[in-house]
Point group: C2
């Protein structure tokens, strides 16, 4: 609708792959907004087939996820990872682009590290929601040559869990507090966790938290991979190397068990369905603008027609001479 | 798909209108499930044009909503309401049909009152979700001759707020606890509240809660109706008659300001869009079973096709020789 000039997505991707961080940042912004440019960028990155390894970090606010991620960056860099990206996702915030992370990252000095790209992402209007915007961002990182993306979420709502668990390896962070582990269970984190971390393990109750988690794991359906429970003190770095080691061990397990490929296929299938759903929402908006819709709407509002029959009549117009995205 | 005999919805509605509570209960169950029978019942009730006055009661768990509703039933009955229904909505529960309410209601003796119909409702598979199932249930009550329906929600999640605010008058219940009123603001309750109730007002902090709410109202966009803030002690019945009076006053305001009709029209328009979305989702499910979908799915998963282009191609098949609900 807006007559703004579209981005030259191809050129930006080439620049990004050559190390141009501002080009990458522009592409990420486009993906976050999810408009025409975003779709074009997403399509190009998609067809490149580039994939990154992904690690999700989730847990309640205040659990120490940010500090833990900072420490993991250091562990990864020391461990020989040339390039990595962190995507900090906050579904509740309308702001993004690094504001949340600014201070924290500067403290750790990672902003001076050309091998680390840190980016925050919020709900900005992508029709498929963050559950689509995040994998698209990951794919842009991958296309630009980043082999590892850490996805950190801010809370433990449904969206956060969905986003964090759409990674190869999901790390669930809890604290040694009574009830924290039960909360983890309640939020559906137990099923999505590949690794549990009891952070702030120098505080009282760490052993109890571990026992609670072990007990919940005992009660859950056993699989080939039983999520290990690690203790860390992110503030001092204690236990972080072990966590980095477990992340690697989980990845090896996925590969050797032949699970990585089917796991990623399933994720793509889910993403396709989400994109489809978003496209349908656009279509409903388009239909709502048709004269025929106004007539049906009046009939429904005046009780002359029930909404089911009206929906049936509208359905005949789906996809019909719409100004669909085929135009780009 | 299942070869079960469809309900004779017309006969059941006639029985329900004649006072047959079991017939009404069967219709409500059908509406909750949202299948073919539910749609038939919803259509018939819709075209009858019957409408009930509706009051939504929402607030955090433990705020005392249930006790308050019990007291309101008594106030309404004393105030001359012949018939009323309570719909207790719990989006997080797969169970329904009165189990939650059983004990509580028996305590108050309303189950022996033929003028009161109490029913709980959960997420049972209605495609449009509770945001469609609840107005359909309200309409069934109205068609059966119930002039007033109180919709009580269990929590303050997005669905609860959506459901509770889709009523003529929305009552938001908070407690005299620090932060409770702020929570109400955060959950978007401030915009939807027509009346605030500080329940358990005999506990410390009631005056502070009132001040917090007044302050938030001062900061919000002023309208013709400023939500009054009432204090109640539901356990003893204190303040409940005043609340019942305010509910009546709000209704009179809506009528005199000419707002009731447009308000209800808007709600019907939103409901129509939700039904439409649900119908398109069904269509997508149908398409997912087509050989063409499997091809597209493979192409997407193998990165030969991006999900946006694939969605576009699928959309072209919507409504095409499907076994649409025209068959019922």
């Amino acid at each position: 609708m807006t007559p703004s000039r579209p981005l030259d997505v191809g050129a930006l991707l080439t620049s990004a792959a050559g190390g141009d961080r501002r080009a990458l940042a522009r592409l990420l912004s486009a993906a976050e907004r999810g408009g025409e440019d975003g779709r074009a960028a997403a399509s190009l990155a998609y067809r490149s087939g580039a994939e990154a390894d992904t690690v999700g970090i989730t847990g309640a606010p205040g659990a120490g996820k940010s500090t833990l991620v900072d420490r993991l960056i250091a562990a990864a860099r020391t461990g020989g990872v040339d390039q990595l990206a962190v995507l900090a996702v906050d579904p509740t915030s309308p702001f993004s682009g690094g504001a949340i992370l600014g201070d924290r990252v500067r403290m750790q000095g990672h902003d001076l590290d050309a091998g680390v790209f840190i980016r925050s992402m919020a709900s900005r209007g992508h029709l498929g929601g963050l559950a689509v915007a995040v994998p698209e961002a990951i794919r842009l990182f991958a296309t630009a040559g980043t082999p590892l993306v850490i996805v950190e979420t801010v809370g433990v709502g449904q969206v956060e869990v969905e986003v964090a668990s759409a990674t190869d390896t999901t790390v669930v962070v809890v604290n040694p507090k009574w009830g924290d582990s039960i909360q983890a269970n309640k939020a559906g984190l137990l099923e999505t966790a590949d690794i549990f971390v009891v952070n702030k393990a120098d505080m009282p109750g760490a052993a109890q938290s571990r026992r609670d988690l072990e007990q919940m794991l005992d009660l859950s359906t056993p699989g080939d991979w039983r999520p290990p429970i690690l203790e860390t003190v992110a503030a001092t770095g204690q236990g972080v190397d072990e966590l980095w080691g477990e992340i690697g061990r989980h990845r090896t397990y996925l590969e050797e068990a032949g699970l990585l490929v089917p796991l990623r296929r399933e994720r793509l299938e889910r993403e396709f369905r989400r994109v489809l759903r978003g496209r349908i929402e656009t279509e409903i908006d388009r239909l709502s603008g048709l004269p025929h819709f106004a007539e049906l709407d009046s009939a429904v509002v005046e009780h002359r027609l029930d909404p089911y029959t009206a929906a049936e009549q509208l359905l005949a117009h789906v996809g019909e001479n719409g100004s669909g995205p085929g135009s780009h």
